[in-house]
Structures are given as structure tokens and as C-alpha cells.
């Protein structure tokens, strides 16, 4: 249990990379990229966890009564989620244009930029 969360994060990241490299469809590749990013969220939040802790949100909790987990990584992960969503949107916009201009979304068939 001591390293399982980290290992899962690494696994998710590498699995996304594998999918990205072997993808036969650009839309699928974009999906894989968001899987890659899921790995980063898991790592960040796992790093900030504290045994027995709860969220540092004091609307229904008296400060100081329970140990709390690290809020900084949560803010980082939150930023990361937003960044991920926007990058995905932009990539998909590019995929739409690639499909329009090349008539395919298979990277094997895109052979214009070579050498």
C-alpha cells in the first residue's frame, strides 16, 4: 500500500503513452493523451495524502479537530484538470481540421511532412 498509488500513477501514464504511440486514429490518440494526464493527477493527489486525514474544507468541520490532507496538491491538480480539458478541446479542433483537409484521421495515411 505504501507505493501502490504511485505505481498506479506511473502505470496510467505509461499506458497512455503506449496508446498514443500505437494509435491508428487521431481521436483515439487525443483520448490517450487525456489518459496520460490522468496519471499526473493521481500522482499529485497521492503525494499530498495523509493517513486518517480529511479534506481541508472547514464549512462542516471545526478547524483543528481532524488531521487534514495537503491542500496545495489539490489546487495544483485542479489547475491541471482545467489545463487538460482545454488542451483536449484544442487538439480535437485540430483533429477536425486534419480530417477535413486530409480526408482521414489515420496517422499512417498522413504522409506530407517528411524528410
Amino acid at each position: 500500500m505504501d507505493v501502490l498509488p504511485y505505481l498506479v500513477a506511473g502505470w496510467v501514464f505509461l499506458a497512455g503513452c503506449y496508446g498514443l504511440a500505437t494509435s491508428r486514429n487521431l481521436i483515439h490518440a487525443v483520448g490517450c493523451l487525456s489518459v496520460c494526464q490522468a496519471g499526473t493527477y493521481v500522482l499529485l493527489l497521492a503525494v499530498g495524502y495523509r493517513d486518517g486525514g480529511t479534506a481541508p474544507v472547514f464549512s462542516d468541520l471545526k478547524p483543528g479537530t481532524r488531521p487534514v490532507v495537503d491542500p496545495v496538491v489539490q489546487a495544483l491538480a485542479l489547475t491541471d484538470v482545467v489545463v487538460g480539458a482545454t488542451v483536449t478541446a484544442l487538439l480535437l479542433a485540430l483533429v477536425v481540421q486534419v480530417a477535413k483537409r486530409h480526408g482521414t484521421v489515420d496517422p499512417d495515411e498522413l504522409g506530407e511532412l517528411r524528410g
Binding site: 487521431l26 493523451l33 489545463v83 487538439l91 511532412l113 517528411r114 524528410g115
Partner: protein, 586 residues
């Protein structure tokens, strides 16, 4: 004064916001004037701050000054290199905006402000990254810069190549950014801090480096090296830079790639340089090997291109390799030289792209073979093109020459030869283009069905082909070239740069930087070699352009996203292997 540092980001952002909000009403000239004013204002601010940056300033955004040495806020740095890069980025943005005045075809209907707004956002991202002193903050602005760059690269949606290049660029760079974030996560897990200096100190306090430090080093560097297009992370760059609109190319090649190198320098110097970081010999080995490889691959590939912008893009790859070698030897003199080299290169390379853009808009092609002898009429452009090529080779008194000379002296041995050879080959390729296109020298090259990207089939970026070149489009490269010369020739400038770099990093050692006889001679040698190579290539094309020998190398550049991702993984693993010995020994 230090309260004004974050405004380098805030002002362009505000400008972009207002441009988009009012973009539906504003006529195009008004939008462009506003953009130029905002960008110029930011550049002025950066310069004013730069003049006041000795001693270096720091600013705690939100007023969260440290208590007992620890802060909860974000630190931004107001030191020479950071503000210098911000100023360079701002000035180049201004140049690109002026260049694109009356330049693009009709902007999207009712979105007159969107291109200038994107440029301002790009400027904000670059400035934010340059002044970041907090690792996660650096990541955020790194992403901002990347996101805008993707959108700008794909701006011409009618061009199949543009959208494909932008997509490749976006996928590879996003993956690199996520690797960087994984590295930040690891560092936070070990140290529990985010400010770079704090992380460095916490690593030192932890003791000798171990696998975690190595992994963090590899991941963070992977992210930054993808941006700076080091081999084998470089594949995206020619695909993207060759197809982006010309004003965007000026920014991408002139400063964005160099910001990646700057990031490596900054992060290594503040986070990993201590006893708890990566030992110097290992970092040196990693950077020198990758840098030399990048320079060599870039130069060879540059030589074989016929698509002019692609050729320039490879020359950027080659020069980035030289910069990496420069910072990789970890000597203060080399840092100073590299800083000067980056400044000079930015001027020269941006000017070259601007001139290539004129060719595209005047003749509707970027192919060296197709354009053979067709641009005889453009005398002034031809002169600037050749001059810029010589600047690229490092002809004194260009800033590139001074920077190169200083670095060559510092790196010593075989690397000096590498510097001379690489700058000569890339400049030779550019001179060859100049001789063929502007003078029509030599026989017209025969068409071959080789594995390559031709430059034909590119569409002009203006509404119609230009019949006469607007003054803005010629004035901008002229000013940029003059600035590149001034960077080398202006007395005292080099000393100021060196001082700023040394105060911020390099262990505080102060080094004097000036022209030396050996440096001048080496610069002349490079320029001479370049001219010779170009002359040989033009008069005896068969001798030097045997494509077969470089074919395996060229086949690697396959245009396939999956390949590039695979190379990224391999590159990260190689980086780890290169830096491994010291960690094992420690």
C-alpha cells in the same frame, strides 16, 4: 519597482481580453494598433525593469513575503536573464505584430481582434515562463505558451500541412508538459515545496542524490527539452515551424525554443546543482551528448532541405544544439556566450523568417528549386538575406559572432570544431538558397522523387500575391538585423549581459566578455566556410547533394505522431541512462 514585475504578464493578458471583448466592433487597423501599443508597452516595461535589475529583484505575488524563509505564495524573479528573456520575447512579439500589419488575408468574420489577441497571449505566456521562480508556476505559463502556439501554428486552417504540423506539435509538446508535471509531482513528494530555490535547498538537506532525484531530473528535462527541440525530441519542430504563419515562425524560432534552453539552465542551476541534486559530471554528460547530437542532426538535415522555412527550422534545431552545449559545460563564460548567442540568433533568425515570408507572399512558393532565379528583382531583400546568412555563420561584428566566439573559447577542444562546422553548414545552406533564388546562379536543380517535403503548394498568406512588398515587411527584418549587429558591436553591451547572467547564476563568478583575436578569426572562418560550401553547392550540385547518405536520417522524420511519441519515450530513457552513473556511485 519590484511590484511591477508581474505586470509583464498582466498587461498583455488584459490587452488580449479587451481586444476579444471589443473585437466585434473594432475595425482591423484599430485592433492592430491596440495590440502593438500593448505589446510595445510591455516591452518598454521589461526594459525598464531590466535596467533596474541589478541587484536582482524578487517579487512575492499576492504579497506573501516569506516568514522565517518560507512563503505560501508564488515568487517571480526579476533578475537579468529572466527579464532579459521577457524583454526579448516582448520585442520580438512587437516585431511580429508590426510585420503582420496588413499582412494576413481577411481575419475570421467578426473576429478582427483574434490574431493580435493570440499574439498578446503568447507574449504573456513567454514572459510568465521567463520570470517564473516557482516550478508549478513555470509549468502553468509553459502550458499557456504552448496552447497559444498550437492555435497559432494551425491558424491557416485551409492548409493541410499547417493543421497536421500543428497537431503533431500539440501532441508531442503536451506529452512533454505532462512529463514535466510528473517530475514536479516527484519533487513535491520529496521536498514538500514548489519554489525552485526551496526545492533545491530541501534536496541538498536530504543528502546524496538517489533514483528519485534522477527521475525528477529526467522528467523535468524531458518537458523542457521537448520545447527546445533537442534530439530525439526535435521531430515536431520542423513540421510545425515550416507551416506556421511567418510572424508566428519568427516568435517560435526566435524565442520560444530558446526559452526551453533557458528553462533547462534555470532549473538545473537552482534545483539540481546542489550536492543533493544531479552531480555536475552527469548533467554535463547528458546535456553535451544531446546538444552535440542535436547540432549535428540539425545541420545535416538543414543542408538537405529545399523548403526554405523548413531549412530555417532545421537551422534552429542545430543552433539549439549549440546552445545546449554552451550551457552544458556549466562554465560561467559559456553561459555568457550562450546568452549573447541567443540574443543575436533571435534577431538573425527572425529576420530570415520574415524575408522568407516575403518570398512566399510575392511568388507563392517556398521551394528553392521552383524559385530558382525568380527573385532577381528583390535587390534589397536579397542583400538582407545574404547578410542574415552571414550573421548566422557568425561573421563579426554580429551578436552571434561574439556569443559564438566567447562560447567556443569556453567549451574548447572538439566542441569548438563543432561550433564552427555547424554554423558554417547551416549558414552555407541559407547562402545556397540566396544564391539560387535571388541571383539564379548555377544550373536549375533537377527534380527527383526523393523522400522530402517540397516547398511548392504553399499558399501566400496575404489576400492576393503581393505585387510590391509593403514597407513594414522590409523594415522589420532590417531593424532586426541591425539589432543583431548592435548586440555584438555596441560597446559595453556584452559586458552588461555577462554581468546579468553571472549575478543570477553561474555561482556568482564574474567574467569579462570581449572580442578576442581568436574569436574574430573563428567567426571569419565560419563565414568563409559557409560561403565556400554554398559556392560549391551551387556550381557543382552533384558533389554535395548526394541525398543517399543522409537518407536513413531523413526517413526518421516521418511525419507520424506515433513515431515522435516513441522517440520521446526513448529520449527520456536515454537521458536517464546518461545521468545514471553519478547517482549509482553516490
Amino acid at each position: 519597482m519590484h511590484h511591477l514585475i508581474p505586470l509583464l504578464v498582466a498587461v498583455p493578458l488584459l490587452g488580449a481580453g479587451l481586444l476579444v471583448a471589443g473585437g466585434r466592433r473594432l475595425p482591423r487597423p484599430a485592433a492592430e494598433t491596440v495590440a502593438c501599443a500593448v505589446s510595445g508597452g510591455t516591452a518598454a516595461l521589461a526594459l525598464v525593469l531590466l535596467l533596474n535589475s541589478s541587484p536582482p529583484m524578487v517579487e512575492w505575488v499576492g504579497g506573501w513575503r516569506p516568514v522565517d524563509g518560507f512563503s505560501v505564495g508564488i515568487v517571480v524573479l526579476g533578475d537579468g536573464p529572466g527579464l532579459g528573456m521577457a524583454a526579448l520575447a516582448s520585442l520580438l512579439t512587437l516585431a511580429a505584430l508590426v510585420y503582420s500589419w496588413h499582412y494576413f488575408d481577411e481575419p475570421p468574420r467578426r473576429h478582427a481582434g483574434s490574431f493580435p489577441a493570440l499574439m498578446l497571449l503568447f507574449q504573456a505566456g513567454m514572459c510568465g515562463f521567463a520570470i517564473a521562480g516557482d516550478l508549478f508556476n513555470a509549468f502553468v505559463y509553459f502550458e499557456l505558451m504552448s496552447v497559444v502556439a498550437y492555435a497559432l501554428t494551425g491558424y491557416r486552417i485551409d492548409e493541410p500541412r499547417a493543421v497536421q504540423g500543428a497537431l503533431t506539435f500539440a501532441v508531442v509538446n503536451s506529452l512533454g508538459a505532462y512529463a514535466l508535471l510528473m517530475g514536479i509531482g516527484l519533487l513535491y513528494g520529496r521536498t514538500g515545496e514548489l519554489a525552485m530555490t526551496r526545492i533545491g535547498r530541501a534536496l541538498d538537506a536530504h543528502g546524496a542524490p538517489d533514483a528519485l532525484v534522477l527521475a525528477a531530473f529526467v522528467l523535468v528535462l524531458t518537458g523542457l527539452l521537448v520545447k527546445s527541440a533537442a534530439v530525439p525530441f526535435h521531430f515536431w519542430l520542423p513540421d510545425a515551424h515550416a507551416v506556421a504563419p511567418t510572424p508566428v515562425c519568427m516568435l517560435l524560432s526566435g524565442v520560444m525554443v530558446e526559452l526551453g534552453v533557458y528553462g533547462v539552465w534555470r532549473v538545473y542551476g537552482t534545483v539540481f546543482a546542489g550536492p543533493g541534486g544531479v552531480p555536475a559530471p552527469d548533467a554535463q554528460r547528458a546535456l553535451l551528448v544531446l546538444g552535440a547530437l542535436t547540432a549535428a542532426v540539425g545541420a545535416v538535415m538543414c543542408w538537405y532541405q529545399r523548403h526554405i522555412k523548413r531549412l530555417l527550422a532545421y537551422s534552429t534545431v542545430a543552433h539549439t544544439g549549440l546552445f545546449l552545449v554552451g550551457i552544458g559545460v556549466l562554465k560561467p563564460e559559456a553561459d555568457d556566450g550562450t546568452a549573447l548567442y541567443v540574443l543575436g540568433h533571435a534577431g538573425v533568425k527572425a529576420a530570415l523568417f520574415a524575408l522568407a515570408g516575403i518570398l512566399l507572399d510575392r511568388y507563392g512558393s517556398l521551394d528553392e528549386h521552383v524559385l530558382h532565379g525568380r527573385a532577381r528583382a528583390l535587390k534589397g531583400v536579397a542583400a538582407m538575406f545574404a547578410l542574415a546568412a552571414l550573421g548566422l555563420a557568425g561573421l563579426p561584428p554580429f551578436g552571434t559572432a561574439l556569443g559564438k566566439a566567447v562560447t567556443e573559447e569556453a567549451v574548447g577542444g572538439p566542441f569548438t570544431a563543432l561550433y564552427v562546422a555547424v554554423s558554417a553548414v547551416t549558414a552555407g545552406a541559407v547562402l545556397r538558397v540566396a544564391a539560387r533564388v535571388f541571383l539564379g546562379l548555377g544550373p536549375k536543380p533537377r527534380e527527383s522523387a526523393a523522400y522530402e517535403t517540397t516547398g511548392s503548394g504553399e499558399r501566400p498568406e496575404t489576400r492576393q500575391r503581393l505585387t510590391r512588398v509593403p514597407d513594414t515587411m522590409t523594415a522589420v527584418p532590417a531593424v532586426l538585423l541591425a539589432a543583431a549587429v548592435a548586440a555584438g558591436a555596441a560597446p559595453g553591451f556584452a559586458g552588461v549581459v555577462a554581468d546579468a547572467v553571472n549575478t543570477a547564476g553561474s555561482g556568482g563568478v564574474r567574467v569579462a566578455v570581449h572580442w578576442t583575436r581568436a574569436g574574430v578569426l573563428l567567426g571569419l572562418l565560419s563565414a568563409l566556410l559557409a560561403t565556400g560550401l554554398a559556392a560549391l553547392a551551387v556550381t557543382r550540385p552533384a558533389l554535395l547533394s548526394a541525398p543517399d547518405r543522409a537518407l536513413p536520417l531523413r526517413r526518421l522524420q516521418s511525419g507520424h505522431v506515433g513515431d515522435y511519441v516513441a522517440w520521446l519515450l526513448v529520449g527520456a530513457a536515454v537521458l536517464g541512462a546518461l545521468a545514471l552513473p553519478g547517482v549509482l556511485g553516490g
